[in-house]
Amino acid sequence: MIAWQKQETAYVGKVQLADGHWCKVVLVGARTNPQGAMVVVAGKGGEAVKPRPFADCVAAFTPDTVMEVYCTQERAFGDRGLEPPDLP
């Protein structure tokens, strides 16, 4: 599973894309917020490119990553009584 880290109020996880590349997924708000989960991919020179909403690029991720990101987002910011995300 993704090793989430808490950075202030956000949860950040290093995640592998379906093509094998790596990116960071940053959870900052609930599922109802289109920008509640953002994807940050390093550019060719190593610089971060503009973050994109996770929901816009789910096809680039494996299904278990997508499921885990959505479930973790609910745990972190939802109101359904789930316990907070596991931290290492």
Binding site: M1, A3, A18, R31, A55, V58, A59, A60, F61, T62, P63, D64, T65, V66, M67, E68, Y70, C71, T72, E74, R75, G78, R80, G81, L82, E83, P84, P85, D86, P88
Partner: protein, 283 residues
Amino acid sequence: MNEPSKIDYLLEEIVTLPSLPSTVTRLTRLINEPDCPLSEVSKAISVDPALSLKTLRLVNSAFYGVKNKVTSIEQAVTLLGLKVIKNLVFTASVFETLNSGTGLFLMHSVACGAAMRLLVEAVPMGVPVEPDDAFAFGLLHDVGKIIFEEFLPKEMDQARRLAQEQGLPSFEAEGAVIGADHAEMGARLAQSWKLSDEVVDAIAGHHQLERCGAPELRKAAALLSIADFQCIACGLAPPPRRGARVDEEMWAAAGITSVQIAPIVDRFMDQLPDVFELAKLAS
């Protein structure tokens, strides 16, 4: 001559599988008879007051969605029909077995039952598994862990530590420590309870598809694996959880892609209040 497998050795030397309550066995036999009278079914359940009470509590839970309060087994049988009643009574009696696990184990089993039911509704199965039957798949998928906890508690402690330290899925850690895993043990229990081949195979294959005896049942096992993972990702499972995963071949067998996940997760989240209520009633 082949050496007996580790699971056979455990069943011969160490483990005694619990039997299914006689009420459930009798009920299953009755319901499978052609032209089974409803009054006989009601009588068969009513002779076990504790089971009757638990069944009524479940019938009236939001999970089953019955609008008016059901106050008698006769009414429940008439209202819900034989198949649903059989599943309800079975669920109630399995809860008794699962109660020997921790609260979070029971929650995981119930949540997995609900997740499996939703997945079966969402994904055309290609195998004859109905949503009401699917709940039992999830409810029972980890029942082998209860058996291991009862007969091999030290080894299970060791397996949990190994899973946590090395980030292994629980079945791999059990395999390394015990030489067999909960999926194999659960399938043997389901077999001894004379449950359907679909249930037995799905339990056996929910971590390793090649364990499914019939290839057409792989989809059910794959969906069960996904339901299990979803509950773990939601924190609705006892730790350690970090080694949980669903292999690519499982997703392919289930026929679910990344873009189909969002509505699956949403439906499960919407069902959570009912799941929490059901788990409370079961404990």
